[in-house]
């Protein structure tokens, strides 16, 4: 749910990067942080283990400037993908306005991607939400690796609704902003 403040003419939206462990969610936020000027993005907070795995969440605030007279701000979050951290994943989804599902393109990760998608739907349902009610886009990450599923195979497996999907190499930044732009658009269109 977006926070729409008519007193300060501000809109705040929450976007969550979801997906399997090591899929590249944190890498997406790190790239966005690096590329944007400090006036547009705030500091990035990562609550991570010593081995850089997300423990609770990453948080990156963005200030998109004025959209139709409203100062528009996005809070980007990632969830921890590791199976055992489901309680944290559920918490982060509270009040979500839009989702980027980051899939790991490696063939051997296909089953994990499908399970993570199922887990996401289950956690959304705890808040009375479904993939029909929350705008979301897909990112097929790690396209630089050799042993990957084809775009079509991924579409069939995890994109039955045919929402926007993007190939990405998040470590190099390719596809990262295309994905962010698509989810932003979907979220803001929901407000009109």
């Amino acid at each position: 749910m977006a926070l729409i403040n008519y007193a300060s003419r501000e809109i705040n939206c929450k976007i969550v990067y979801y997906g399997t462990g090591l899929g590249g969610k944190t890498t997406n936020l790190e790239y966005i942080f690096k590329q944007l000027a400090p006036g547009i993005r705030g500091e990035m907070i990562s609550l991570a283990t010593e081995t850089e795995r997300t423990l609770f969440f990453d948080f990156l605030p963005l200030d998109l400037g004025s959209v139709q007279g409203f100062k528009t701000k996005f809070s980007l979050y990632t969830v921890p993908g590791q199976v055992e951290y489901n309680a944290s994943r559920k918490l982060i989804l509270n009040g979500v306005d839009g989702i980027v599902f980051v899939a790991d393109s490696q063939s051997e990760k296909m089953a994990e991607n499908i399970e993570s998608m199922r887990n996401m739907e289950e956690n959304l349902s705890e808040y009375g939400l479904t993939l029909e009610s929350v705008p979301y886009v897909l990112q097929y990450n790690k396209r630089d690796l050799g042993n990957i599923s084809t775009f079509e195979e991924l579409e069939v497996a995890i994109n039955p609704r045919g929402v926007s999907s993007f190939e990405a190499v998040a470590v190099e930044g390719s596809g990262v902003f295309a994905t962010l732009k698509a989810v932003s658009k979907a979220v803001l269109n929901r407000l009109s």
Binding site: P61, V67, Q68, F70, S75, G95, G128, S192
Partner: protein
């Protein structure tokens, strides 16, 4: 538990004025540095006091997160939730409390003031804040943006 679903939270000028008034009074009466009201998804609703030096967005995300993880701790010791939290620092501390709508108030105060005094003032204010937030949730959301076609092109220059 209250869930917001996809409905948006619309903060009216009048509603925000009332909440700022409550938070402002709390800061004045207690001697606290700042008081923040956060919604349960981690976004800042309102803040009063010395907020310029504070990164209120990060504070909101982290306080909401720590409340969430403490709820999990509560469950492990047979409680449904902890409604209050207190973090003590060297020179200042934070007292946090949840209102019925599940939104949070966080008060940052110097250690020259006792936590008991802050707790007393915050607890006095909870009913009022709760009513003010309930009123906000009962607002009929209206679309802030004009129809989609005009929002579309504008977005391409965002990043």
């Amino acid at each position: 538990m209250l869930h917001r679903g996809t409905g948006n939270l619309v903060l009216t000028e009048e509603g925000i004025r009332a909440i700022n008034n409550s938070l402002g009074n709390l800061v004045m009466d207690s001697g606290a540095k700042a008081a923040l009201l956060l919604d349960k998804s981690g976004q800042l609703i309102a803040a009063q006091g010395e907020t310029n030096a504070l990164d209120t967005m990060s504070l909101s995300a982290l306080i909401t997160g720590s409340f969430g993880s403490n709820k999990a701790i509560a469950n492990l010791v047979g409680e449904t939730e902890f409604r209050r939290m207190f973090q003590q620092g060297q020179s200042s501390s934070i007292y946090m409390a949840q209102i019925v709508t599940h939104d949070l108030i966080a008060v940052i105060f110097p250690n020259s003031i006792t936590v008991g005094k802050i707790k007393f003032r915050v607890d006095q204010m909870l009913d009022t804040l709760n009513q003010q937030m309930q009123a906000m949730y009962n607002n009929t959301p209206e679309a802030p943006f004009r129809a989609a076609p005009s929002a579309g092109p504008k977005l391409s220059d965002l990043f």
